[in-house]
């Protein structure tokens, strides 16, 4: 006899929901613990960035930021050199090339202005703030671990 699909869904759903949860075998726990202990103790820098200690994440992000800013400054310094070389190699460049270079220069200049006006004034204070807060958190955690938890274990 064909059952209505909704009734079938309800019948099977109720029967399945009534099933007891299969218990994990006793070997699973010991296998997991053994696998955790057997994991090679990879140094922090060999792990994914998200697994790094917070202070090293902040430091690496700061270094990356400094590198990007430095490259941008180097790029602007070499702009004069690049213009000179282009003129020597191509004394009469086509109009489309001149327009493309002008458009690219305008974009770079707009980004540079935005950086100077908005981001650069905040860079150093924000970086200092982050470093100070990170250091404060690390010191506080170390102190708490030593004073509170260490004291509790001795009582």
């Amino acid at each position: 006899m064909t059952m209505d699909p909704a009734d079938l869904e309800r019948l099977i759903g109720d029967a399945l929901k009534a099933l007891p949860t299969p218990a994990a075998p006793p070997t699973l726990f010991s296998r997991v613990m053994a696998a955790v202990e057997a994991r090679p103790a990879a140094p922090w820098y060999a792990r994914p960035w998200m697994a790094w200690p917070r202070i090293w994440q902040a430091a690496s992000a700061s270094v990356l930021l400094v590198v990007v800013v430095g490259l941008a400054r180097v790029w602007s310094l070499t702009e004069v050199v690049r213009h000179t070389l282009v003129r020597q190699l191509m004394p009469s460049p086509p109009d489309w090339m001149v327009q493309a270079v002008d458009a690219g220069t305008a974009v770079v200049e707009a980004a540079r202005i935005g950086w100077r006006v908005i981001a650069e004034p905040m860079l150093i204070p924000v970086t200092v703030f982050l470093c100070v807060m990170t250091a404060a958190c690390v010191l506080f955690a170390a102190a708490l671990n030593r004073v509170a938890l260490g004291g509790a274990s001795e009582s």
């Binding site: 299969p22 699973l28 726990f29 994991r39």
Partner: protein, 182 residues
Amino acid sequence: MTDADRFEAFVREFQDMVFATAVRLLGNRAEAEDAAQTVFLKAFERFHDIGASPTVPGWLKTVTTNVCLNHLSRYRSRWRLFSEMDRADDKGGDGRTFEAGIAAAGSHASDLEAADEQQRLERALRALPDHQRVPLVLFHFEDRSYQEIADTLGVSLAKVKTDIFRGREALKQVLTDDDGPR
């Protein structure tokens, strides 16, 4: 309590849930144990972030599902291909046909009690072919919608509905055999 103690307590608390999810998706206890170990190793890597989170049961179920689906797609024939072939001798996670699974489960029908009937249903569920069992488990145990299942498995909505319907029909045999006259 040290981190190691906390993680041990974490494993003890959630091992049944993780294993149950894996064994119902994979239909094989040995593979489910391997999958559960993989899940807990992933949890160990992120234990500082998720250990105390109230959403950790949902995270574990999601990771378990993903690990099991990756296992099914990597180590078995593409279940999409199998579902399209839909042969009469489709085999479940334990390598037996569904009919063989029912026959083995029903060999002691005269001595079954309610708990045994539940065991028959559990064995029948595991004996279903992958392409029926997986969407059925995702629907009834993980409370996913048909569309979510189709998106997760990369198949059409119609295929999901058809496979789930056939899986329910197959399990209905177990229930009606339990209730029917002998």
